[in-house]
Amino acid sequence: MKQRIRQNAVPVLFLCMCVLGVLISGQNLRYIAQELISRLARNWFLVLSLIIPVTAGLGLNFAIVLGAMAGQVGLIIATHYKLPGLLGLITAIILAMPIAVVLGISAGHVLNKARGREMITSMMLGFAVNGIYQLVFLFMAGTVFPIKNPEIMLDNGVGLRGTIELKYCKYALDNLIRLRLFGIDIPLAPIIVVILLCFGIRWLYQTKLGQELRAVGQDMGVASVAGINVDRTRITAMVMSTVLAAIGQVIFLQNIGTMNTFNSHEQIGTVAIASLLVGGATVSRATVGQGLIGTLLFQLLFIISPAAGQRLMGNAQIGEYFRVFIGYGIIGAALLIHAWERSTSQRSAHRQPKEKTPEVTLNN
């Protein structure tokens, strides 16, 4: 029981904050619902892409930024060839796939070399590859790569524009099936995709591979003595996560409609990870349900905080900064609690080897 309360403390706290925020902001509920549903439709997939590495013991995968970049590369190429609608979207995903696989494999190799420091390494990996991404699309596009399309290039012919209109495939997925309910516009197709992904993840954990991922996540030593190839399993987890993130980013951007070539992906890691954590996940334990609920609460907070800030402090900017702070703060707090628990449990396990070992649960 105590465990239950503790596990749900974070989502409950955020629920209270959201309710308060909604009341304070005094915004129209229909507006909030409309905003929320479109944000959920575009964010859920990305958040769920984080779950597999957590079960595989790699912690929060800050390197989904790599997948997001792969997705953007796909979109850039699709836009360059002016591929319309769903065709463009699918082309973008197909093109992004091999890039994401390669990035995922390399990320997996790097993280295997940095055992025990996976999270900071995945974060630095995101930063470093982002630098290379900028180098490619800011300086090499137009010089090394002969891209000519003036719609996406800067006027002098070198480097991509800072913002690219995705006019050919904007809403391609959203518009597939639209549903109107109580005056709220619901993009059904991306939600169906998310549901499929949920079932996919569930199914994965019923397979042999899923069992291996969970085993490696709990204890690499035990897994390897049992004959599981630990390194390979971890790389597999990274590849799956990166590929999912690439698809997620394409879904995300088709809803936004414009791509901030050099910024759209940067915040993806922080936002997705914070969402997962708000749902009550930890560094070593994350479920699909936590991802779904966490995204809901976090995005709700996102919608209402500027208005709440305006009403409360007379300054909408405060709300903007508040949500940034919450994003970083929740990650910081989650990491802190996790590390704290781990070090105290290690210490007590060290002192009293006859006590039962620290509890690690992994339900999926």
Binding site: G131, N315, I318, Y321, L336, H338, S343
Partner: protein
């Protein structure tokens, strides 16, 4: 021949060698393209002096065993507050500088103490926790900048009359006060003596500290906690002290940076500032377990010179400012390299 070459690489370290070679190449291109070398060197010197103390802040943190201080932004915020207080009360010249340094030092030490206590609870995860502690504080302070009771009209938004501006110009009597102190020119190169002297003083302080009983105890606590405990050293205390020193140095480093830069940048500007400092000390040959004053000095010199020279050189070849991108790639790859390296226990 090949063996001795390999030995050379081992001794200097592959990343450092790469950077040195890269630097040499840039210098050659610069002289071929007839770029004003003396100006480039002057700029490099200024940037070394500007950033040096912040890089130096990594040394006590690593030596005490708390690892690379990814939460340096905590100290940086303390430095910013020091500058803001001085600017609010319009303290001029050296009085202003010294007041700012004092405030920065005290606030930095206090914040570093709390930060150190946290780090002691999360052994092995210091880097990740530090990074997010820094991110949280920087974003949390954004709200503070908006609400803080600063009144000086030069500093707050014109519209609304409340909240600090994004970028504040440091007043003329304070801006570049160290840069201009005893400045002289030799062969066309301007030497910012005061600025470099401040950096040198900080280095000297650390050098002496690490030869004192306290400093040696700290070093031992970082190198082998079990050995230190058996000598009666309180390892936890040493780690806190290392973090305090690091954060205070970071704070004072920020004051020096601001006076030389001439502007105080608030809000999200300090967010990523700890990474280049971490990268610089790594470039100087440090690791997550060992860092010396010499590593900091060499690393700052190499990294800042590289960045200073790369800007005009690349501009002479391709359009656009590549130096920011270069900074991102170099510093993050450098940190990545250090993270994936097996912590050398030599066996």
């Amino acid at each position: 021949m090949i063996d001795s070459f390999k030995q050379l690489i081992n001794k200097i370290g592959l990343p450092r060698l790469t950077i040195i070679l890269f630097l040499v190449a840039l210098l050659i291109i610069a002289s071929v393209n007839r770029l004003p070398t003396s100006m480039l060197l002057s700029n490099s010197l200024v940037r070394i002096g500007m950033n040096g103390v912040m890089v130096l802040a990594m040394v006590p943190s690593v030596q005490s065993g708390a690892g690379l201080n990814f939460g340096l932004s905590i100290g940086i915020i303390a430095g910013l507050i020091g500058m803001l207080v001085v600017m609010e009360f319009e303290l001029m010249g050296f009085l202003g500088l010294i007041t700012a340094l004092l405030i920065a030092c005290v606030l930095g030490a206090a914040a570093g103490y709390l930060y150190g206590l946290i780090l002691n609870k999360v052994r092995g995860q210091e880097m990740m926790i530090g990074t997010y502690a820094g991110f949280s504080i920087v974003s949390g302070m954004c709200m503070f900048w908006l609400l803080a009771p600063f009144k000086n009209p030069e500093m707050i938004w014109v519209v609304g009359g409340k909240g600090l501006r994004m970028t504040l110009a440091v007043n003329d009597s304070l801006a570049k006060i160290l840069d201009n102190l005893w400045k002289f020119k030799i062969l066309g190169v301007e030497i910012p003596v005061g600025l470099l002297l401040a950096f040198a003083l900080a280095c000297l302080f650390l050098e002496v500290f690490f030869r004192s009983r306290l400093g040696v105890s700290m070093k031992i606590a970082g190198a082998n906690p079990a050995f230190a405990t058996s000598c009666g050293v309180n390892v936890d205390k040493m780690r806190v002290l290392g973090t305090v020193l690091s954060t205070a140095l970071g704070a004072m480093g920020m004051v020096i940076y601001c006076q030389s830069f001439g502007y105080v940048q608030l809000y999200m500007a300090p967010l990523m500032m700890s990474f280049p400092a971490v990268a610089a000390v790594l470039i100087g040959g440090a690791s997550a377990r060992k860092a010396t004053v010499w590593n900091a000095v060499l690393g700052t010199a190499l990294f800042q010179t590289l960045l200073t020279i790369s800007l005009p050189v690349t501009r002479s070849m391709i359009q656009g400012d590549i130096s920011e991108v270069a900074k991102t790639i170099i510093s993050n790859t450098m940190i990545l390299y250090a993270l994936t390296r097996k912590e050398g226990d030599g066996e």
